[in-house]
Symmetry: C2
Subunit: 650 residues, 2 copies
Amino acid sequence: MPAPAHLLMGTGELAINQDFSISLSATSDPRLEIAASRLMAHMSKRTGMPLSPNAQRPVLMIECANSGQPVQSLDENESYKLSVTPQKAILSAPNPLGIIRGLATFEQLVVPSTAAGFAVPALTIEDAPRFPWRGLHIDVSRHWMPVEVIKRNLDAMSAVKLNVFHWHLSDNQGFRIESKQYPKLQTMGSDNLFYTQAEVTDVIAYARGLGIRVVPEFDVPGHSTAWLVGYPELAAAKGPFEIGRTWGIFDPVIDPIADYTYTFLEGFIGEMAALFPDAYFHIGGDEVNGREWDENPRIAEFKREHGMLAKTGTPSKNELKLSDEKLQAYFNQRILAIVKKHGKKMMGWDEILAPDLPKDIVIQSWRGQKSLADAVQQGFQGILSSGYYLDHMDSSATHYAVDPLIDPKTKQPLNLTPEQAAKILGGEVCMWSEYVSAENVDSRIWPRTAAVAERFWSPQTVTDPNDMYRRLDVLSEQLDWYGVTHRSSYTPMLDRLAGTETADTLRTLADVVTPVGLGGRARARKYTQQTPLNRLVDAARPESIVARRFAAQIEASDWTAVRAQLILWRDAPPPPQNALLQETAPVSAALKQTATLGLEALNFITSKQRPLPVWTMQATQILTDAKKPKAEVTLAIVDPIRKLVEAASQ
Amino acid sequence: MPAPAHLLMGTGELAINQDFSISLSATSDPRLEIAASRLMAHMSKRTGMPLSPNAQRPVLMIECANSGQPVQSLDENESYKLSVTPQKAILSAPNPLGIIRGLATFEQLVVPSTAAGFAVPALTIEDAPRFPWRGLHIDVSRHWMPVEVIKRNLDAMSAVKLNVFHWHLSDNQGFRIESKQYPKLQTMGSDNLFYTQAEVTDVIAYARGLGIRVVPEFDVPGHSTAWLVGYPELAAAKGPFEIGRTWGIFDPVIDPIADYTYTFLEGFIGEMAALFPDAYFHIGGDEVNGREWDENPRIAEFKREHGMLAKTGTPSKNELKLSDEKLQAYFNQRILAIVKKHGKKMMGWDEILAPDLPKDIVIQSWRGQKSLADAVQQGFQGILSSGYYLDHMDSSATHYAVDPLIDPKTKQPLNLTPEQAAKILGGEVCMWSEYVSAENVDSRIWPRTAAVAERFWSPQTVTDPNDMYRRLDVLSEQLDWYGVTHRSSYTPMLDRLAGTETADTLRTLADVVTPVGLGGRARARKYTQQTPLNRLVDAARPESIVARRFAAQIEASDWTAVRAQLILWRDAPPPPQNALLQETAPVSAALKQTATLGLEALNFITSKQRPLPVWTMQATQILTDAKKPKAEVTLAIVDPIRKLVEAASQ
């Protein structure tokens, strides 16, 4: 996973034993050496076999035709060919990136076999990505993510062939990178939680070894409160400013007409452009509410002078809004000049789109395929993020169904010429960090991101969600070896909640609930950056494998298994009682109640009796109540049980 | 855990919220600052609460009367007093070590409470250790343990108040530390798996911050093959030598009469004595078979000259053995002079004991309390390791029952005067690494070592195994926060074995089996250092919690629970079939068979019927067969089911 473009199964298998070794065809790209030794280390870890340092006969031959570009570019060739016979494996590619992708494939294929200890099945794969831009965006501002979190996620990204790490480094809630030129950015804007430039350089080098570009984002002119704490002279309103502790669209905004702003940004962007080698530089540009621009007489005067507002009269609300958009376009033009001067192409969210921008900018669409289509029809390039927001807590299947080239409403391909379609470069999964910490962020990113990675890499025709889940479950376990904690953080988080009691009963409950999305959380209580994320909702995973398997048992009319499962839930003792788990009492009550209902329905089904309409009515009410979020989690077995009730009532 | 010497429960509890902070009474020992910030980090991690950096009112007040010694010594005061009220906690100690111990206690007390989110119960503890030497010995030679393994185990040691890390740095299978003076020791004797001196210094500093002494061991004159690979001129026989890949008592041995040996050891011990600040230096000294001494005419001549052998005639086997012991005593005397010259006290295994050694040496007894009593009766000091060998795969309760001052056979206190008894300084748990790797070593060390740590720290009267297990289960979960992987490595190891299938069925089996001890493994197959440790026996834990709970249910005549459990085992599908799991088929068959038998027994019991004698006879045979190790694991539910069968047959 992601499924390869072309796969031909062969006969037999290549045994992987302790003599496994690799040969590298001569090439000067150091990434190949790095990739080969990483593979050796991974193989040893995954199989639990010490590999012989003196193995003579190479089992895997790597043949790479050329060196790659000194800075990984958007249009580098990532194709590879992998051919495995019972005697040996040959991986060839025109470019080191293809080798890196092919090794990710090879690794996944190593599993215990019936005959040998470990083996790779004989096969031939010819593979290349569908889209050149396959990214993961991580917000490190709202909650801090240390370097180790970033690195392990880079490792896992590489395993599913993602190639862009979009690093959301500044926002209202924290400025997360060291500026040597403007040190108050980090000293006053980060609670001392920021990356040093040495760390950033290290992460970029690490990512390069994995075939991943690093695109930094510095969100301006909105989402910038953290900048203004140290440098209030950048602001459109009078300071002082404090680091944002809550979230949403804030008023503080950069002054787009002051010379100081551009002097500052010239210096800052120059510094960052030198630090980040990638060709693209993301300036954010989203969600400016314009309030502080509107209230600043100097700015109003500027607008009138520059024809953004009528010279006289009180502008209407709509006129003000339009004037703010023009003002932001003006700001963007000036930023663009700076970004270009430092050799970068500009990138931003939908809002930066303006006809007079150059066509080599990239629009990142959080608004959807329609917005993206508009952009490419105007000749811009774009990537899709709408539909890939992990904080909505949607299922892998939901994200998997979102295609950058298909209208989600009509399910039809976007109405684009091939040239226009080619300007849709791919997409990015977005991990916004309002409701995640370093402890549980991996469990939100993985394995769901792997489903989207397949969308970005594999042929458009690969769409079967059942087959996706079958492979995703295997991959999710394999990702453990890359160090991501999406599975391993679950147990300690449940143990913490259970305190000195066993967490077994809590686990039974946690296994069948999913966290509500960010809307549900915002409505449930007043969160700040300091609110502990240590509750059931934080430990629960975005998808319930148990509920999915239960639904499949119902689908298959496997009534014995369904009954056993329902009895288990009905009779499950409640989780331990303590202050942290108090809120879960209604959730366990709902589990018990729906399981009881499910058993009643099952009895009707298996005894071939029909319930009275009043039973069905009551059942529907129970399910409606059970479906409502409680303690910010949703009971994932309600929908499967509704199917049972429907089957019983038919 | 370990249970404190004096505990008085109070009324109410001290809430631990995000304003938790610590005050330190003025003192110059930097370990207090380290300990306080470690506690803050741990508190945040364990509770999942970001702590406020600006909290004003200290919740925990630390009062330390004096600074400690520059190098932690054997006789430093480790006592502390902890008093917790609903308003605040006060931790006081005469020495920073006491503060470190008290903080370990405080941490364990922080749990979710009924009223507040987290809290510590009101109480007063006055605590001090029973023994001053409470160690963990880790062999890093037979299997390599990277620095991270050592550090996380130091963290966990500190959590249970152990204070000596005994680092077994050289043996036949690897020389694991950099010598600048004799670099071929590590370059030729370690497969390039060794600690640099910088790493060693870092580990020692890390341990000091945790109140742990680091005692290095360089085993001579036997167990020294790895030395001889690079320096064959040290050997009593002609080389060349190769790193040992198997284990046992090897022939290669250092030449005890050559001047070169003592010049070399003078240089080497000098270098190591400067690197390791601890007052003690462990020279091993165990298991010399003498064969190569006996075969060397030069050495025979030396023995005759020095009265170790008769001047003429062919010595008997026994005379040779005695002469070798005398020769080793001679060697030890010369080593002692070197060790002393470099300011250290000597330490060694039982075999070094000789009347003419100075009384400040420490004998580490792998032979038992009797051997230890002999030593202290002669005026030496000693520590016990017999009974604390983790590779025997005994239960926590078994190790817990071993007391350094009690004869294991008679269960009576050793016949010692108080002065003699005081010379028994404590003990060390031993983790020999023939059958462990960095991946599963923690699961062998923890939680069992915590039970022994309680033996070393708590009053001798604390001996109830049920109470120990109740607390050990809680502690074992808490140890996750110290980074040891004794619980977390289980899932990936099972997943690896299951390959692309779910590991659920394998887990059901693995949960109720325990690995055989080192004897069982040696008999089962020919192991070498390169043999993969990736099988069921390597994933299985030394104690089965599931089997222990099952036994308790039988004990409590909780027949409903017992029946449910037995049905689950009887009906459990077999684990996935692949080359790695093939060997487990007889184990799952035995599980099914014993569970079926258990259900039959239960039916007799609950129906108050008596089985025919032939049933009992067959049952006994089934249990005998089931008890035999298969695939190097033992089925842990056989003994509980035997109780059922006995109850049914009575």
